[in-house]
């Protein structure tokens, strides 16, 4: 983390807790990471690990309890409402369910143009040509799609429209939360390829949140693995997948199923399921399911520390030595 250029986004010790009746859900507990201009950071983990909450806390949809979200030199958590609205135009988010993210009764042209109508003082002509360019960029024919309603489109096409809407403001940072999870594989591949193209074309920085390990690997330069509100491991993606240092990463990778009957079936089976974030285990949160856990894991919270270039792990007994 020392030799990197100034990050576009820097998350520092982020905590997001929700009240649920008398209990507190510790969704995100002390997450820190940087995202450098032009890179794609993948965040992967199982349901309830806090990956989506982290994404939403970056754009302040969820208000962090503490911690800083420094985007382009400004701490978003310190801004007033009106300042935040303005700053947020530089960050756009794409959600999982493309169909319910679009208003079914509005025309595609209007959906994509809305951010412009709010923020830019463009003439009608300029606005129309920007929308047309954007629709073309995501692979839709503006003549055919522009005047149709969102309800007329399939999931894959709706996701293209969502991407067009997100990019029309020319954001610096794009946060994709499970953006291909509800799509069929054949369509998923189209959208992933499109994302790579657009990232190159517009010089985007991307945070790609998903539960699918293979999808995350495909698009990411670096990957962070989360478990119960904390980051267990961060590494360049090829390194993380070939040399996992955290026992959880290793187990996660070995339980992924490959479309290949000859794939090695020697799997590390985790027993049980992730504990509740309402009452997480003391010390290392993974220790209740960890095959390597010892007494120390219950007492001390493992800090994220470097075990290789760009490779950090939060474990007292990592699988690789520094």
């Amino acid at each position: 983390m020392t030799s990197m250029p100034t990050p576009l986004l820097s998350i520092q010790d982020l905590f997001v807790h929700f009240k649920k009746g008398r209990e507190v859900v510790q969704a995100v507990s002390g997450v820190s990471f940087d995202v450098v201009q032009g890179e794609t950071l993948g965040i992967v983990g199982e349901s309830g690990c806090g990956k989506s909450t982290t994404g939403r806390a970056i754009v302040q949809i969820e208000t962090p309890n503490s911690g800083a979200v420094v985007f382009d030199g400004t701490d978003l958590t310190k801004l007033k409402r009106s300042q935040l609205r303005k700053a947020r135009t530089g960050i756009q988010m794409i959600f999982q369910d493309p169909i319910s993210s679009l208003n079914p009764r509005r025309k595609i042209n209007d959906i994509v143009a809305e951010p412009l109508d709010i923020w830019k003082s463009e003439t009608g002509e300029e606005r129309d040509s920007t929308v047309r360019q954007m629709l073309e960029a995501v692979g839709l024919d503006p003549e055919i799609t522009g005047n149709r309603y969102a309800r007329e489109f399939s999931g894959g096409q709706c996701q293209r429209i969502s991407i067009a809407r997100a990019l029309v403001m020319r954001p610096k940072l794009l946060i994709c939360d499970e953006m291909v999870s509800s799509l069929d594989v054949s369509v998923q591949a189209q959208i992933l390829n499109l994302l790579e193209d657009l990232k190159a074309r517009y010089g985007l920085t991307v945070i790609f949140i998903a539960h699918d390990l293979a999808v995350v690997k495909n698009v990411s330069d670096r990957v962070a693995v989360m478990y119960l509100g904390r980051i267990c491991e961060v590494a360049p993606s090829d390194m993380l997948y070939s040399n996992p240092a955290h026992p959880y990463t290793e187990a996660l990778l070995s339980s992924a199923l490959e479309p290949d009957p000859s794939a090695p079936s020697a799997r590390i089976l985790l027993s049980g399921e992730p504990p509740s974030p309402i009452n997480p285990p003391s010390g290392c949160r993974f220790r209740t399911r960890c095959p390597r856990a010892e007494d120390r894991c219950a007492r001390e919270v493992p800090e994220l520390r470097e075990v290789g270039p760009g490779h950090s792990v939060a474990c007292h007994f990592p699988l690789v030595r520094a």
Binding site: D184, V185, A189, H211, K217, V219, S262, R267
Partner: protein, 356 residues
């Protein structure tokens, strides 16, 4: 265990009659919708052997779920038209009366659904949801059935089952609920279990556990299983045979190893190629299939995949290819006018170079 002996009396483990457990012939299931007739299953035929696991793979709208519900006779009657034949242990399912179906459901055929939260009754303790079919089909009394429920929960890997039988579904996690679903489905030792996307709503680490439980119990009980999934990874290592569906039809069916070694249908190959893999390096460009799955109300003429297929010729656009056996392997069938060469070659061969 006195229970075991009683159970085997009620459910002889060894079937006397040989031959396939399930025979599906030219099954067509259509629904009348406001947009027109929807051909959800469009002429599907296959056999399922006793003890066999058949994987059915396809994208949304390929007809895989309607097919499994047709086999189970679980489809809503309104607007439904069916033809062809589904023969299960000599019983024609399509013409079976509700009374006959009730004796089969749970006892001989059962189903594990995708979403355990909505499939379990939220206001009934899980113990009773398991014993319900046991008492109905086997005439066990309450104590016997309760003991059986505890034993089933143990078998599906639920810790402290004596306490768990008194829980309601909301007190269990997603993985635990799916285990309960499996326990309910297997309670009466059915001959056939239809598992429709059984792990889709679960996390990867839990998914592996559930598939293992299902495989273990299947082996112990010599059941046949139809595993329906959109995920090639789920079926690749857990099945004896795989049927690939597209546009309501089976487009390729083969023993699992053979399918992955020598896929003949371009769609199967494209499906595999568009799936990102852990073994590939980052930023590999995926081979996407252009376009999208067909509209079942307006199926394209000829082969349903032809509008998206890079090998398609005029014939593909006009005539439906029949499901025929491969020349070198009678158990490998595919529906394609221009099949990929069946030589099990290395991945380095470019598809373009093999075009005749």
């Amino acid at each position: 265990m006195t229970m075991a002996s009683e159970r085997s009396e009620n459910f002889p483990i060894h079937d006397e009659n040989p031959g396939p457990l399930l025979k599906v012939r030219d099954l067509r299931t259509t629904f009348t919708t406001p947009r027109g007739k929807l051909n959800a299953v469009d002429g599907v035929s296959f056999d399922l052997a006793r003890g066999e696991t058949l994987g059915i793979v396809g994208e949304s709208g390929s007809g895989k779920t309607v097919l499994s519900r047709s086999i189970m006779s679980l489809l809503p009657r309104s607007g439904l038209e069916q033809s062809g034949s589904i023969e299960f242990e000599g019983i024609e399912m399509l013409s079976a009366t509700p009374d006959v179906l009730r004796t089969l459901w749970g006892a001989k055929i059962s189903m594990v659904f995708q979403d355990p939260m909505t499939s379990l009754n939220p206001v009934v303790r899980i113990g009773r949801q398991i014993t319900e079919s046991l008492r109905l089909h086997t005439g066990m009394d309450k104590t016997e059935a309760n003991a059986m429920a505890v034993s089933l929960l143990t078998q599906v890997g639920i810790p402290s089952p004596e306490q768990r039988v008194r829980n309601y579904p909301h007190q269990l996690s997603g993985g635990m609920r799916q285990r309960v679903m499996i326990a309910i489905a297997l309670a009466c030792s059915p001959r056939l279990v239809l598992a429709d996307e059984p792990t889709t709503s679960l996390d990867v680490t839990v998914q592996a556990q559930i598939l293992d439980v299902l495989a273990k119990l299947q082996e112990e009980r010599h059941m046949s299983v139809i595993l329906v999934s959109h995920d090639l990874g789920v079926v690749a290592t857990r099945t004896d045979r795989i049927a690939v569906m597209y546009g309501g039809r089976i487009v390729e069916i083969a023993p699992t190893d053979r399918l992955f070694r020598a896929m003949a249908m371009p769609y199967t190959k494209a499906l595999v190629a568009s799936t990102p893999r852990l073994s590939q390096p980052s930023h590999v460009r995926l081979t996407a299939i252009e376009g999208r799955p067909p509209d079942l109300v307006h199926l394209p003429k000829g082969c349903a995949f032809s509008p998206r297929c890079s090998y398609a010729t005029d014939k593909c656009h006009s005539e439906v290819p029949p499901l025929t056996a491969s020349r070198d392997n009678a158990s490998h069938l595919f529906a394609c006018w221009n099949p990929l060469p069946s030589t099990p070659v290395a991945i380095t061969t470019t598809p373009g170079s093999s075009a005749s």
